[in-house]
């Protein structure tokens, strides 16, 4: 359970990155935060593990006020994976990279070995176990960075732009990993520009613009609202756009539903 309550944050000089954000995220939710560049998405998620503390308002994570604890304590509950894997990778081998957080949290060696093994398999990295992370491709590095956080099994998982540089196959795999973790009861928060990824895999979406939450709700309802899509300069899902262009009475992001609607229109025309 995360509750964000009137949070304001500014990096100084009058630019406010967050301008009174209220957001409730329940246990084992799977949600996406979308919005234009500079909307405040990354600033917001940095509040979830205490890297940033709210200047006004408060953030409560699992009953703990983030202002009253350390990043190291919160990081155990909230696993935050940043956009650029190059900001994270430093170890000699992928295996050591994956055990970094586990060692920091002081887990026993057997447990570390077990979790590293799980992460290597889950993210298809077993072949790279002894390779230096710097010799991997962009997409592989991205997976190492995801694995290096998910391996310590945080209750809340926050991913900043996890799909950049991933091909469709890897995206689908990522989606199924996230769905699996979500089924196991984890809260999964994805910050992204990849609206099609959201439309296909994420049930709840929060839209941010200029430091504010401008829409929040079920993905199939939010992503078909033209006003919201315009206000946040998000490229709408192609299916939503198609629905608007055809003038469907109930715009949708679901292929089957749109096909069904079009069929009905065609049937009406024939009569």
């Amino acid at each position: 359970m995360i509750s964000i309550d009137g949070v304001t944050y500014s990096y100084g000089e009058g630019i406010s990155a967050l301008d009174g954000v209220d957001l409730e995220i329940g246990d084992s939710e799977l949600l996406a935060i979308v919005g234009e560049n500079g909307a405040g998405k990354t600033t917001l998620v940095k509040h979830l593990n205490g890297l940033l503390k709210p200047q006004r308002g408060r953030v409560i994570v699992e009953g703990i006020d983030t202002r009253e604890t350390t990043v190291a304590t919160l990081a155990k509950k909230v696993g935050l994976v940043f956009q650029n894997p190059d900001h994270m990778l430093f170890a000699e081998t992928v295996e050591k990279e994956l055990s970094f957080a586990l060692v920091n949290f002081g887990l026993p060696p057997e447990e570390i070995a077990k979790r590293v093994e799980w992460a290597l398999i889950e993210f298809r990295l077993s072949n790279y176990r002894d390779r230096s992370p710097f010799t991997l491709s962009g997409g592989e590095k991205k997976r190492v960075s995801l694995a290096s956080v998910l391996c310590y099994d945080p209750q809340i998982i926050v991913l900043d732009e996890p799909t950049t540089g991933q091909d469709n196959l890897q995206k689908t795999r990522l989606a199924s990993t996230l769905a699996k973790l979500n089924r196991q009861g984890k809260t999964v928060i994805v910050v992204t520009h990849d609206i099609e990824f959201v439309a296909d895999f994420i049930p709840r979406v929060v839209v941010m613009s200029k430091g504010k939450v401008i829409a929040d709700g079920p993905t199939e309802e939010i992503l078909v609202r033209e006003d919201v899509m315009d206000a946040s300069s998000i490229l709408p899902p192609q299916l939503a756009e198609l629905s608007w262009k055809i003038g469907l009475s109930t715009p949708s992001i679901n292929t089957e539903m749109i096909v069904e609607e079009i069929r009905q229109i065609l049937r009406c025309d024939q009569k």
């Binding site: 593990n49 890297l51 990081a75 940043f82 650029n84 900001h87 994270m88 957080a101 710097f134």
Partner: protein, 249 residues
């Protein structure tokens, strides 16, 4: 990291911003020499006070004071490491305090004078003035780029620290040795990404035909005006006064 930010140039329209970089260079060299030469804490304090009108003229008080606050840690460090050995060897606490204060003030003065210079001088103008001072363009550009990448590097260091702290790295944990070791997960990505960036910049420069023509011409040429001569005279005059004051003290 705030220390770097305090040297970042911001566009401004004050007299100090408009003065030719070469005149400011004269000021910088004169005052740096004085600061290094002086040993009397009172003389050093007078120099420090002489920066206040400059800071006011350039409207840079916020960033300048930020640079001072950012260097507080080093000043405490410098003070202790000058005080302790002097006190131990000379046995006089007063002597030790005087020399430690002088060293701290000297550092504070150096930070201030460089901060005044870089806060009010645009990197492009600085490169141009170096070229006009007959420094080869390659070196001038290297210097410019080194300056240009300081804020980028400090931002990058912040990103890396955020990422590693999110994986449970505690920078402040442990004794002196393990604290140094805590920096490894930050320094390695920082160094590697710097090399990568250097390569990218080199590629970008080559694709824009860097070095294709031997003789470069400039769109803008810096010219010294009456204000510059006034500024240089004022700098020379006040340096002379300070020098005399130091002799009398």
């Amino acid at each position: 990291m705030k220390v770097f930010k305090a040297f970042e140039y911001r566009r401004g329209a004050t007299i100090l911003h408009r003065i030719d970089p070469r005149s400011k260079l004269v000021y910088l060299i004169l005052f740096t020499s004085l600061v290094v030469y002086f040993t009397n804490p009172i003389a050093l304090l007078i120099i420090f006070l002489s920066f206040l009108p400059m800071v006011y003229l350039g409207k840079i008080s916020a960033r300048w004071s930020q640079s001072l606050r950012g260097s507080l840690f080093f000043i405490v460090f410098i003070f202790i490491f000058n005080f302790a050995p002097t006190a131990y060897y000379s046995g006089s606490l007063l002597d030790a305090a005087v020399s430690a204060i002088a060293m701290s003030l000297r550092f504070l003065n150096l930070i201030s004078v460089f901060s005044i210079f870089f806060l009010t001088t645009s990197p492009e103008d600085l490169t141009q003035s170096m070229v006009q001072l007959k420094i080869p363009y390659d070196y001038a550009l290297t210097f410019n780029m080194a300056m240009r990448f300081v804020p980028t590097l400090s931002r990058e260091a912040q990103y890396i620290m955020d990422a590693q702290r999110s994986r449970g790295l505690e920078m402040e944990k442990g004794n002196f040795i393990s604290r140094i070791r805590n920096y490894v997960p930050v320094l390695i990505p920082l160094i590697i990404s710097s090399f990568r960036r250097a390569e990218l910049v080199a590629d970008a420069m080559e694709s824009r035909a860097f070095g294709a023509s031997k003789k470069r011409t400039s769109l803008y040429v810096l010219k010294m005006g009456r204000g510059d001569f006034l500024f240089i005279s004022a700098a020379l005059g006040s340096a002379l006064v300070l020098f005399t004051v130091n002799l009398l003290l």
